[in-house]
């Protein structure tokens, strides 16, 4: 209780914080109280902004019914379900100011989410991604391999989450090469030439978890050509959903790649296309971490109360970045567990957690749902 009191007292008396204030700190250096103070202030500023600028958000926020107290704390922000970005076009800017539209591919047959970015939000995303990443891989640009096909980037104005991820991360490399051809075959020749060219250098690799597993790991296994990536750093994300059947988890994934390529610097990340930039990186101890720019709250689905540490529940994510659309506080369809705050063995401050999967369909069906099959 003390923590909360400390925070709210301070909150009322302190000036308005902005994103720039966060930039004065290392991305994982704010403890619980300070983070609530600064990030909390920024988030309530965003809340006000989107309430004023986004008519749809206003209607929801005005009728919000899951506030458990009147205290101004992060947990009391409304959280909108992530599917709203599929069902509605949510903007807090004039359409004329849209610079980029991100779309998520979604499951086949579903409408994709649409995220509208203005120049400021887009540049904030890049800046924050860079701050988070460089704290893991250093500030220097590295020769880079993308484990994907270039065909993913067909339309330059409307990016899929995958395309946006690739472009976002490619900024941290130079001599960027795509390892998969249009049919997703691994180009061994390109890979070997690249490794020869950059022998002895650190190399950055980026790809989506499933693609890395299916078209990189498995291709190397099938082909049998020895590949040495001991100087490599792999960053991968996008979720494990497609790999559940083959029982591949972060442990199996790391071990398999290490055995085949001696690659040992492997970092998974977790994030939403709705909150691009403020991603959650997995640390050496195997936990995902909230940086200063974002936070995670686990909620009990029965009443949306905040779950205690160690308890699994629905994942709510908050981010200081979304200015052009009301995505600063989102209830995802993922399940996760927070393992602690400010005390991970890796030394990073903030909440650390694991994602355990997606919510499942368990409904009792009726006669109207039948499909001829």
């Amino acid at each position: 209780m003390n923590q909360v009191k400390y925070y709210t007292q301070n909150f009322m008396s302190i000036k308005m914080y902005t994103l720039e204030d966060l930039d004065q700190y290392q991305p994982y250096s704010l403890d619980y109280n300070n983070k609530n103070l600064i990030l909390g202030d920024i988030l309530f500023g965003l809340e006000k902004l989107h309430n004023n600028k986004c008519h749809e958000y206003h209607k929801i926020a005005q009728n919000w019914m899951f506030k458990f107290s009147d205290e101004i704390k992060i947990e009391n922000l409304p959280f909108i379900p992530v599917r709203l970005f599929k069902e509605l076009e949510l903007l807090s800017i004039d359409r004329a100011d849209i610079r980029k539209t991100l779309t998520s591919s979604g499951t086949s047959g579903q409408t994709p989410s649409k995220i509208f970015l203005d120049a400021t939000t887009a540049s904030n995303q890049t800046k924050v991604l860079s701050r988070i990443l460089s704290s893991f891989i250093g500030k220097k640009r590295l020769p880079m391999l993308i484990i994907d096909s270039k065909s993913v980037l067909k339309n330059r104005n409307s990016f899929s989450a995958r395309g946006a991820g690739i472009l976002g991360f490619s900024m941290f490399g130079y001599d960027v090469q795509y390892l998969l051809d249009d049919d997703f075959n691994l180009d061994f020749e390109l890979l070997q030439n690249f490794l020869k060219k950059h022998e002895g250098e650190k190399i950055l690799l980026f790809g989506f978890t499933y693609i890395v597993w299916e078209f990189f790991n498995n291709a190397i296994q099938k082909n049998g050509i020895p590949i040495n990536l001991e100087n490599g750093i792999l960053i991968h994300g996008g979720g494990w959903k497609k790999m559940i059947d083959s029982a591949v988890d972060t442990h199996v994934f790391r071990e398999s790649l290490y055995n085949k390529t001696k690659l040992q610097n492997i970092y998974n990340y977790y994030g939403l296309v709705e909150q691009t930039g403020s991603i959650f990186m997995e640390c050496e101890a195997g936990f995902l971490h909230a940086s200063n720019y974002s936070d995670i709250i686990i909620r009990n689905h029965k009443d949306y109360s905040v779950a205690s540490i160690g308890q699994e529940g629905l994942v709510q994510l908050v981010s200081a970045l979304p200015l052009s659309y009301p995505g600063h506080s989102i209830l995802t369809e993922d399940l996760g567990t927070i393992y602690g705050i400010d005390n991970c063995t890796c030394g990073r401050l903030g909440k650390y957690f694991k994602i355990s999967g997606r919510i499942k369909n368990a409904e009792v069906r009726g006669c109207s749902d039948t499909v001829q099959k």
């Binding site: 019914m65 689905h301 029965k302 629905l314 919510i359 499942k360 009726g366 006669c367 039948t370 499909v371």
Partner: protein, 408 residues
């Protein structure tokens, strides 16, 4: 014996849970409420109610209870003049793929009418289906039930147009349960010119509650009402066609509405808290719908949530079609009125059941009966929405599935 030369798909292509393709030369069309049939169903009921496996499934038990001889005898009394009727012939049933026990009701409707039944059960392997099938097979070992045995086929096959077509072409009637899409797909198969379909497609249902009557309830009656409402809705996640998704509050004194709602919903919540397990998916779905309703619907004036178990959306005017107002897992739209005639404006063709409490049923019947449109086939008290009856979707199964031999 036997009717025309008919051939059923071989057991290589189709799984016969009950019956065999070779029985087709022994089938016979019989009279409704045939004594052997009544005898068989009574024994079926008894076997189900005493079967330890069946006891685990409340839907099988409900079915078993429905078939008990007292119920059938009572039912028979409402058909005093059927001795010039007999079954229409071969009835092909396409059971809904997601309601395990529905196939059994569909079968019994056509059996009671005197028909041969070819029942396509869901391709999903529900335990309920195997349990009922094995009980039926056991009873068929008794020679006194051979007539019924030769008239009964429970089949299962995966999506296969040629099989559905080969069964449609020998049908005299088809009972098609399913989505509009399924029903239309099945209708597109060729049938004999005299064959008719009874389609049981997607429907929508609503309820009406009298405000003043809620306030007059004593505690135990309130509890009973809440349990009934729970069974109508939460038991099937509001997915049944007859589960209300929309509630009309009928009032005389406007000032009492809120009080009545509070009493009613608190009682429902007590029941839900004990007997309903809300999944995370359902909880997020309901939150998403609430946000969408707030954003997209101008008629929404308020939303209320009780512990995520009950989500209520208050509307102050009716949308063009109430069919848009869809709720599941305990998600309800509420509208108050002092004029019962508003029901007439709600009567879309797709509306099936009107459940009521605290409103005179005769008044409801008069409004529905005299309205010049075609919605609403069923007016039943709250608590009975899911009770399957020999009259369903506006069809009397006995009259629909029999023909008259006109003697002059």
């Amino acid at each position: 014996m036997g009717i025309q030369n008919i051939t059923l798909p071989s057991s290589e292509n189709v799984e016969y849970l009950v019956g065999h393709p070779s029985y087709t030369n022994q089938i016979s069309i019989i009279n409704p409420f045939n004594d052997t049939v009544i005898d068989f169903l009574s024994e079926l009921s008894h076997s189900i109610l005493t079967n330890s496996l069946a006891k685990k499934y409340s839907d099988i038990i409900t079915f078993g209870y429905w078939c008990r001889s007292a119920n059938l005898k009572k039912m028979k009394l409402s058909y005093p003049k059927v001795d010039n009727r007999k079954g229409v012939g071969i009835v092909f049933h396409i059971a809904p793929s997601n309601v395990p026990i529905n196939f059994a009701f569909s079968y019994v409707f056509s059996l009671l009418s005197g028909n041969v039944s070819i029942v396509r059960v869901p391709s999903k392997q529900f335990y309920q289906i195997s349990i009922v099938s094995s009980i039926v097979n056991k009873l068929f070992e008794n020679p006194k039930f051979y007539t019924i045995k030769y008239n009964t086929f429970f089949i299962r096959y995966p999506h296969d147009d040629s099989i559905t077509q080969s069964l449609s072409i020998i049908s005299n009637a088809r009972l098609i349960w399913g989505s509009d899409e399924t029903v239309n797909k099945i209708k597109s198969f060729k049938t004999p010119s005299k064959c008719f379909d009874l389609p049981f497609s997607e429907r929508y249902s609503l309820g009406i509650i009298g405000v003043e009557e809620i306030l007059n309830l004593n505690e135990s009656d309130l509890k009973r009402l809440a349990t009934g409402f729970f069974n109508d809705t939460y038991l099937m996640d509001q997915n049944a066609c007859s589960s209300p998704q929309f509630l009309l509050w009928y009032f005389q004194d406007e000032n009492l509405i809120e009080k009545a709602k509070q009493i009613f919903w608190n009682a429902v919540n007590d029941k839900v808290l004990n007997d309903y397990d809300l999944s995370a998916k359902s909880s997020v779905d309901k939150l998403t719908w609430m946000c969408l309703d707030l954003v997209k619907r101008d008629e929404v004036i308020e939303v209320n949530v009780l512990k995520n178990n009950i989500n209520r959306v208050q509307i102050n005017s009716l949308p063009k079609s109430i069919l848009e107002l869809k709720g599941k897992y305990g998600y309800f739209y509420e509208y108050s009125t002092c004029d019962l005639n508003v029901i007439e404006t709600l009567m879309d063709t797709k509306i099936q059941t009107l459940t009521y409490f605290g409103v005179e049923k005769d008044k409801l019947f008069d409004i529905v009966y005299n309205a010049g449109n075609i919605g609403i086939d069923r007016i039943v008290p709250i608590g009975s929405a899911l009770e399957m009856g020999i009259i369903w979707d506006g069809y009397d199964m006995i009259y629909s599935l029999t023909k008259i031999i006109d003697l002059k």
